[in-house]
């Protein structure tokens, strides 16, 4: 009886989905790929992942402590940023690289623009590009005890043969989190089944990238080449975990398709015509920058509001 009589303002029905919930699931979905990276590259990879996560979380905590703001490290978004950043670094990186990257990601890209929800680009990718421009040699040093060859994408660009099976499993050199296509897809499936991400952005991204590669890649409908391009580099990681970032991707359905196609074409351009073999991270941060524009032109018409031209017709 008393329950029924309780009067409160709306909303009356709340879903159990919270930011920290979603972010926790993203962390869990990232674990297979991160785990495979640690298995593939050894203890160095684990140390880099931990340093990176520690750096992002500590930066967020310190910033909010110093500026006397609400501490938001509990929402796990800093952990996601740190994990993604770590997975985007090569395991040969010196210890201070993930720390500088983490500080840049949180302090400059996220907090100075107003914290979670206000960042204009994906913090992890912003930091990756910052590091890539600042320390190009350290960021592309993929030579370890196990792997002495170039990354498959670089080999592919040089016109060498690569083993597609190895690329799909992930026994290849590369950054910590990007090598194993299988592990990333497992994580992505978890997120898709939970409804945290949908296939609109990754789907259009990958499909448009494949079409671009078929048209301009110079190999035509060569199955091995296409699957090597798909499994190599950060395409899978980027498409499922970074392009779908809630804050920096469009919210309108039409906008999501446009965004996905834009990313696919841009990645294709960078990979086929660019100097370096990889272009996913630059494609996504450039995509992030045009998201406000995409949203501006794809806002759906509100129910019950007539388009302007019809009004004028009636007047006449």
């Amino acid at each position: 009886m008393s329950d029924m009589m309780k009067v409160s303002s709306n909303p009356h029905v709340r879903s159990g989905v919270t930011t920290s919930n979603i972010m926790m699931w993203v962390v869990i979905a990232l674990l297979p790929a991160a785990g495979f990276g640690i298995y593939n590259f050894g203890i160095d990879a684990l140390i880099i992942l931990l340093l990176s996560v520690f750096s992002t979380v500590a930066t967020e905590f310190c910033y909010e402590k110093i500026l006397d703001k609400k501490i938001t490290i509990g929402d796990f978004s800093a952990v996601v940023t740190g994990l993604l950043l770590g997975m985007n670094l090569p395991c040969t990186a010196p210890w201070w690289l993930p720390i500088i990257g983490g500080i840049f990601a949180i302090l400059v890209v996220k907090m100075l623009f107003g914290g979670l929800g206000q960042n204009f680009m994906n913090p992890a990718l912003g930091a990756r590009c910052f590091l890539l421009i600042s320390f190009p040699a350290l960021m592309t040093n993929f030579v370890t005890d196990t792997y002495t060859s170039a990354t498959p994408l670089a080999a592919l660009k040089a016109g060498e043969e690569v083993s597609v099976i190895d690329m799909i499993i992930g026994k290849i050199p590369g950054t910590i989190g990007e090598t194993s296509m299988i592990a990333i897809v497992i994580g992505a499936c978890i997120l898709i089944m939970l409804g945290i991400i949908d296939l609109k952005i990754p789907g259009t991204y990958i499909v448009s990238f494949v079409i671009f590669i078929i048209l301009f890649g110079g190999h035509g409908l060569n199955g091995a080449y296409i699957s090597a391009q798909l499994a190599g580099g950060g395409l899978m990681l980027g498409a499922f975990f970074m392009a779908t970032d809630y804050v920096t991707s469009p919210i309108t359905t039409k906008g999501k398709y446009i965004y996905g196609v834009f990313l696919g074409v841009l990645t294709g351009i960078f990979r086929v015509f660019g100097v370096s073999a990889e272009g996913v991270s630059y494609a996504i941060i450039i995509g992030n920058l045009i998201v406000p524009l995409i949203e501006k032109y794809t806002i759906p018409r509100a129910f019950g509001i007539r388009p302007v031209e019809k009004k004028e017709e009636k007047k006449a």
Binding site: I100, V108, F130, I133, F135
Partner: protein, 292 residues
Amino acid sequence: MSEENKGALGFKQDTPMERFLNGLIVENPTLVLMIGMCPTLAVTTSAINGVTMGLATTFVLALSNAVISLLRKVIPDTVRIPAFIVVIASFVTLVQLVMQAYVPVMYQALGVYIPLIVVNCIIFGRAEAYASKHEIVPSFFDGIGMGLGFTCAITVIGLFRELIGGGTMFDVQVFGEGSVVPGPVGYFFSQYQPIRIFIQQAGAFIVLAVLIAIMNQVKFNMEKKGKDTSKFGVGGCCSDIEIKDPKKVKEELLAKERAEKAQIGVKQEQIKPSDIKVPEKEPVKVGEEDKK
């Protein structure tokens, strides 16, 4: 001294000293007015570049201000921009030839940005906004103040970019490999890895943003101490942004809210049932619809 006559930092308006400080601090062209961004972002890859560029600009700015001020009654209003360009361009050519002769290294380093001083926004802005309306002496000092303000700002930007992005300070290796600092401190310094992005364009934006933030903080602190900063950034892009103490703002808002609440309370008491008027029904106009 009336309130209207008061210039920057409490000095009398349009005196040499006031103009000088105004350009250097209060209306610093780079950090407050935010004009002349092109050389600011492009040539500040090192501190020495900043100094040279700044001094060249100061020279042109001071002399062109003086000449334009002298000619202000001669120049017809409709062709003032070409007239300004002629004056400014002659001084820029002077600077360019002198630099080419005596500091060829700097001339090479700054390249196209030396002739581009002709279209520098600061010089045009000052000619248009100040020199063409004021006496020669304050105009000359306005040019010197603005020029030195610009020099200081871009030198500091260059200093930080050079130090972070290359580990050097005025071309002396401080951080990174080959550090000139001896002993264990030097060893520690030599471990530094230059963050190359700061030498590139993105770094210029980051350093500039940090400096502007510091400038705003200085302004905020001055306001806190009760100094008059209303003259800060007059006519600049950020002149309409007022920085307030967040605590004060909160108190003000709370006070406003309380006042509103009190008013609502009073109103509610005043309304009596007899006061409430039932609106009469409007007479329905018959035939209005049919006419349409």
